[in-house]
């Protein structure tokens, strides 16, 4: 019974309220760092980490926060965890950090993390908040991985740096403009699948 609620929460984050495809929030990194699968995946992991830790922290201290100043408090908690993610990334994955450091720091400004903190973690216990964070973070990770997989295979003919296709790649997909095309197309496909399923 209880575990059912938790799986429901995770499913909600991955499919029903997918941050990128459905809510269209936090779009910046979905294009900026998705030119290779490795970068997209790392970014997804960083967001997952911040989302979960923020949700836990806020649900732990939710009864002590004065509602009038809750937004600044949430911002402070988020930026604290982002700083931790940022510094540990710089220490453990310096090479990837060079390319995407700015975007890691900008996780602070993610509407989706603040929205979950406000809508869910500040009203619920620690465990549901943990699973809600997991669901939302995994949904984000999932979306980023799909986009970057799509772009890397088409634009570079490779997956995780391994060459797969030997023909001339579609260079435009790893250029900035290609990111917009990829997200637009995938969003359209997502909508199409959704309407199909609802009809059935």
């Amino acid at each position: 019974m209880i575990s059912k609620i938790y799986t429901e929460l995770i499913k909600n984050g991955i499919f029903k309220e997918n941050t990128i495809f459905k809510l269209a929030l936090s779009l910046c990194p979905s294009i900026a760092v998705t030119n290779s699968l490795r970068n997209g995946f790392l970014m997804g992991v960083a967001v997952l980490f911040v989302q979960v830790t923020v949700n836990i922290t806020i649900s732990l201290i939710r009864n002590y926060i004065n509602p009038a100043i809750r937004l600044p408090v949430f911002m402070l908690i988020i930026s604290g965890w982002v700083t931790i993610a940022d510094l540990s990334m710089a220490a453990f994955a310096p090479e990837a950090y060079k390319q995407m450091g700015l975007y890691i720091q900008l996780i602070v400004a993610f509407a989706s993390i603040l929205a979950r903190a406000e809508m869910f973690a500040s009203k619920n216990n620690v465990l549901p908040s943990l699973f809600d964070g997991l669901g939302m973070g995994l949904g984000f990770l999932f979306a980023l991985s799909i986009i970057s997989f799509f772009r890397e295979t088409l634009g570079n003919g490779s997956v995780l740096g391994l060459k797969l296709i030997n023909t001339k790649p579609l260079l435009i997909m790893i250029l900035p403009a290609g990111g917009f095309f990829a997200v637009g197309l995938l969003m359209g496909i997502y909508n199409w699948i959704n309407t199909r399923f609802n009809k059935l």
């Binding site: 910046c28 900026a32 911002m75 900008l106 403009a177 909508n191």
Partner: protein
């Protein structure tokens, strides 16, 4: 002196056209897609956004160079900058409600969203990492604001027409907007290499 000015001008040009935040750095997309539906809101948003950007990056520069660096706590820059931006946005929110209630009615939601806009945080962060001086920081902020305004206005004028056109159903709304942004980004990549900084 002359070269000083030309450098500032180059910074503005590069921030607004060559490294346009929306089209080549992909920042501020939520707001970009949110308010580009109507021309009027796009213009209002651009004006508020540019002014908030310039002032908040000025404040951030002072705090970074005169408080954070002397105290050797630059690792706190994310927390401090977001605080500055959020506080300043709150202030401009109050001021706008008093002075232009009409515009506030339209942009109120998005003004609150400015504090979760990546660009407004990215500019002070880039200023700090590139070690720009005060005037360079201000012109970088101005250029970014102008670039964002340009992007918003181009997009708004396209999307107003788009509503009348016949688009495949799954692509209605955001997906087609993304594809159009991709086309504009392609055009903007023509500016690459205009200036070597």
């Amino acid at each position: 002196m002359n070269s000083e000015f030309s450098r500032l001008f180059e910074l503005i040009l590069s921030a607004s056209l060559i490294n346009n935040f929306v089209f080549t750095r992909f920042l501020g997309l939520c707001i970009f897609f949110g308010v580009s539906r109507r021309m009027e809101t796009a213009v209002g948003m651009s004006i508020t956004f540019t002014s908030v950007m310039i002032i908040s990056s000025g404040i951030s520069w002072f705090i970074f160079n005169h408080i954070l660096i002397p105290l050797n706590i630059t690792f706190l820059k994310i927390i401090v900058f977001i605080g500055v931006v959020a506080g300043f946005v709150q202030a401009s929110d109050t001021i706008m409600r008093k002075i232009t209630p009409e515009l506030y009615h339209k942009l109120g939601i998005y003004l609150a969203l400015i504090s979760t806009n990546c660009i407004i945080l990215a500019v002070p962060l880039i200023n700090a990492s590139e070690k720009y001086n005060l005037f360079e920081s201000l012109s970088f902020a101005l250029g970014s604001g102008l670039g964002f305004a340009l992007a918003l206005i181009i997009m708004a004028s396209i999307r107003e027409k788009l509503e009348l056109s016949d688009i495949p159903k799954p692509f209605k709304g955001l997906p087609i907007a993304f594809i159009i942004t991709g086309l504009i980004a392609l055009a903007f990549s023509g500016f690459t290499g205009l200036i070597k900084l």
